[in-house]
Each structure stands twice: as C-alpha cells, then as structure tokens.
C-alpha cells in the first residue's frame, strides 16, 4: 500500500483526498480520540512505519493544539511479526520507538495510513504484546478500503473508500513523499 513511485501515482491515479481534506480528516480523528478517551488521558499514539508515523505525529500535534495536552507518540515496527515474511525477500526493518513510560496501563492508539486486509494490524497487536500490556488498544486509519481478511476494525477512520481488489491505494504524505494526497489507481495487481 506504500507508494512505490509517487510520480506514477500522480500521473495515473485519481485523487481521492487532497491535502486540505487530509487535514480535516485528521482534525476530526483528533477530536474523536479526545472524545472517546475522556480527554486524552493516558493516551499514546503509535504509528506503524512508514506512513503511520507522520500521521501519529500530526495527530499528537492536533490534540496538543485543541487541549493543550502533550500526547506521547512513537512508532511501532511490525516487520518481524508479519505473517507474509516468507512470501517476499527479507525486508529492511522500520524503527520501534516507544515514548518514555512504555505502554503498560495506557490507552494505545495504533495509527496507520490504509486499513486493508487487517494483517498489518494483527502483526502490530502481536508486536505490542511483546512490549507490555496496554489497558486498551484502538486503531486509527486515514483510509479504510475494505476487503478485510481478519476480524479487525478501525475505531477512527479518515475516509471509507470502497475499492475493488484490483485497485491500489496510495497515501502520500509531505514528510515522506513531499506532498499530501490519497490516490487510487487501477494497476491490475496488488503491491
């Protein structure tokens, strides 16, 4: 679901969300997190690399603006817990960085760009178990494109995007791809 080549996506893809819409979606999610966690008490945002991490940072910043509350955020690499490792050559690891204080007893909100099969989130739940015992785990995604293969759902969704499995969804973020956009393109096969 990562954008392999942003240029291709920009040329061939159909923009589903532009920068302004992404900003509004994140603002809404930030408000929802505050609402659902009774003011963001004991909340930690953990982004799943690559693009979940800048999203987690943006959400933390947004919550800080609204409530003057510093929400700890970090990253959680799930590569070593994936169930499809043996289908592809070994890949480079992302970074796992927990905020000081760890995850024990906290409300952990996992943040990712696209929710699709649910396998990444399953790996994230396993990875999280090895790091401690959160009180609750919730999931925030920018795009939910359906086609779940596991019983997993998101608590906070930026946009529900009905797709066919032939289509490819690219989330572009300024921190990684120099621009903000969500693109959908028909590339015939899944990445």
């Amino acid at each position: 679901m990562d954008a392999a080549d942003p240029l291709v996506a920009r040329r061939d893809g159909l923009a589903v969300l532009d920068a302004e819409e992404i900003r509004r979606a994140l603002t809404r999610i930030a408000h929802e997190i505050l609402e659902r966690t009774h003011g963001g008490d004991e909340v930690i945002l953990l982004g799943i690399p690559t693009r979940g991490v800048p999203l987690a940072r943006r959400l933390a910043g947004r919550i800080g603006e609204f409530e003057g509350l510093e929400v700890p955020w970090g990253s959680l690499d799930v590569t070593m817990h994936r169930d499809d490792l043996r289908l592809r050559p070994a890949r480079a690891l992302g970074r796992t960085e927990l905020p000081v204080g760890g995850v024990d007893g906290k409300t952990v909100v996992l943040v990712d760009d696209v929710l699709y099969s649910g396998r990444t989130v399953r790996a994230a739940l396993d990875a999280l178990t090895d790091l401690g015992r959160p009180r609750t785990v919730q999931l925030a995604v920018l795009v939910d494109r359906g086609h779940r293969e596991l019983p997993i759902r998101a608590d906070y969704v930026g946009k529900n995007l009905p797709t066919s499995q032939r289509e490819v969804v690219h989330v572009l973020l300024a921190e990684v791809d120099a621009q903000d956009a969500v693109m959908i393109s028909d590339e015939g096969s899944q990445p």
Binding site: D77, M80, L85, L87, R88, A90, A92, L93, D130
Partner: protein, 330 residues
C-alpha cells in the same frame, strides 16, 4: 544479498549497510521485557563447530534463539567426527535433518565454501582456518559506527558523547589500524575487506614475518612501525597472537613482540583522545594487550560481545527471514 555469508567480500556496501541498519533496530530488543521475536519460528539453525569457541558459538546460539529458530549445536568433539566422519557426510546428515542454515567454524580455510555446495540451506562462515570470519568484521564495523556515528568528525573535533542515529552511515574517513598477527588472523582479512568497503582507511601494523604473502593486493596500507601509526588512528584493533597456529618462530620472543607491538598504557596515551581500542577476543593479556588497557574505558571489548548477538541476529534474519531462495526450491 547472497544466499551464504562466506566472505566479507561477498557483501556490497549496500548489503553491509543493510545488515548494520537491521542490527541497529534489533539492538533495542535488549532493553525490552521480552527479548524475543517470532520471525524465524519453525526454522532450524545448526551450529557446526569443528574448532573450540566460546563467544562465537554462544553468540550465534543466542541470536538464533532470540529470533525463535530451533538451534542444534554440534561440536566435533564427542560426535561421529571423532570416528572419522568426513565433512561431506556430516553435511548430508544435517541436510537430511532439514537445516535451514548451517553456521560453521572449521580449522581448514575454505571449508564453508565446500559445505555450501553440499547443503541447500544458507551457510554462514563463523571462522575458517586463517581465511575469514565475516560476522566478526560486521560486529566490529557495527561497534565502530556506533562509537563514531557516521565518521564525519574532523581531526581536532572531540568525540561524540553518546550514540546518535547512525542509520545508513558508512565508516568513511575513519582510520583503523589493525595490529599484530595478521598472517594467522581470519578476523584481520574480513575486517580489511569489510571496513574498506564501508569507506574506512585501514592500516596493518605488524612485523614482516606476521604479514601474509600477497598483502600488497589487499585494500589497505601496511606499516612495520606501530608507534608512528598510533597518533593517526581513530580505532586500534589488536589481534591475538595465535600461538596454536604457529609452527615456526615468527618473532624472537614473546617479550620482544610485546615490547614492539603490544598495546600498553604508554602506547595508548599516544592515541588521539577519541580513539578506541578493540580486540576480537580471546585476549592474551600481557602479550598483545596490557591488562589495564583491556579494562580501560576506551576499550570496546565487552561492547563487541554484546554487539555480536545483535549483528548475528541481523545476518540470520536477512538470510532466513524472507522467501526461500530459488536454489532451495529446485
């Protein structure tokens, strides 16, 4: 990356950086409550040790176990090798048991290379004769990189206080002096190859009798005078004098060797303020390295052992963690 890790020369700069970056991420595992990852569940790693070893075998065993692989330890003593079984027959036995990776240490240079032709799994060289020891070179490179964090430090600049993010950085411009018994050292050869691939400037300082024949073809410079090299070095790597491999007199006496090429406190004082002392172990205290130098704050010897586990985890993950190589499927 290739399927086997037999020589440090098999690694391109990109491969080496991938291993070091992976090790960097895995290093944080040591601080976690559960120091284990499920990645290699169901894979079997055989440690095939024909020579004595403490740290390398334990290090590989710990690395494989932390990745949840099954580990079978095999040492030549007390096995059928003592009854005269050949390397090939042992290899076929391991093959039949379904080893996904074989970590081999052998007294004969080239044994891992031969083994790679007989088994389907990945072969990792854990030291073969006087040839190579690539994972030692990787852990040394990892240790140096963590200490120098990228190595873009000028000559007069003070050392970095803490380990900073090193991801993607090579060892460009770092001056490494490898001292002592280069002739019998597999560590030296692997380090020269790997460190030069990563951009370090390597100098060998040794008596002429302890330098291999074709050393002029190696990507490094050579000096017979340790004292003139010390002030220019960022890293001084001491090698063990391998008396067990010495069949002739390579130097007049141990005492004379120690006087000319041993690292004592007086010599260490001639090194730049930020320079570090490394030793692959096991040490001959009082021969190539004085006890107070080995135990000083500038010595990375204990750090090297800890980094060995992380680096070997990275190697095992990258060799075994992904798709099975096409050669296995045939």
């Amino acid at each position: 990356m290739k399927r086997h890790l037999i020589s440090a020369a098999d690694l391109s700069r990109g491969d080496a950086l991938l291993i070091l970056d992976t090790a960097e991420e895995l290093a944080s595992l040591a601080d976690r409550p559960i120091k284990k990852l499920p990645t290699l569940r169901g894979r079997t790693v055989v440690n095939l040790f024909y020579e004595d070893s403490t740290r390398t075998r334990i290090s590989f065993e710990a690395a494989a176990k932390r990745l949840s692989a099954d580990v079978i330890n095999f040492s030549a003593k007390g096995s059928s090798v003592a009854k005269g079984e050949s390397l090939k027959d042992t290899a076929l036995t391991l093959e039949a048991m379904g080893a996904d990776a074989v970590v081999i240490r052998h007294g004969a240079s080239g044994a891992p290379h031969r083994l790679a032709e007989w088994v389907h799994g990945s072969v990792v060289n854990a030291g073969d004769g006087t040839h190579e020891h690539p994972t030692q070179a990787l852990l040394d490179a990892f240790t140096i990189r963590r200490r120098f964090a990228g190595g873009t430090r000028g000559a007069g600049e003070p050392p970095r206080a803490k380990t900073v993010a090193t991801r993607g950085a090579g060892l460009d411009g770092i001056r490494v002096t490898i001292v002592g018994d280069v002739l019998h050292s597999r560590v030296a050869r692997s380090n020269v190859l790997l460190l030069s691939t990563l951009g370090a400037e390597v100098t060998l300082a040794a008596p002429p009798t302890l330098l291999p024949l074709a050393v002029d073809t190696w990507p490094c410079s050579v000096s017979f005078d340790l004292d003139s090299e010390l002030p220019k070095s960022d890293v001084v790597m001491m090698l063990r004098v391998q008396q067990e491999r010495m069949s002739a007199a390579y130097f007049p006496s141990v005492r004379e060797y120690s006087r000319r090429y041993g690292l004592d406190a007086a010599r260490m004082a001639r090194m730049p303020e930020h320079a570090i002392v490394m030793h692959p172990g096991p040490m001959n205290r009082g021969v190539e390295i004085a006890a107070d130098v080995a135990d000083s704050a500038r010595s990375t010897i204990v750090e090297q052992v800890a980094n060995g586990v992380t680096t070997r985890m990275a190697v095992l993950y990258l060799l075994l963690g992904g798709t099975e190589f096409p050669a296995v499927a045939q």
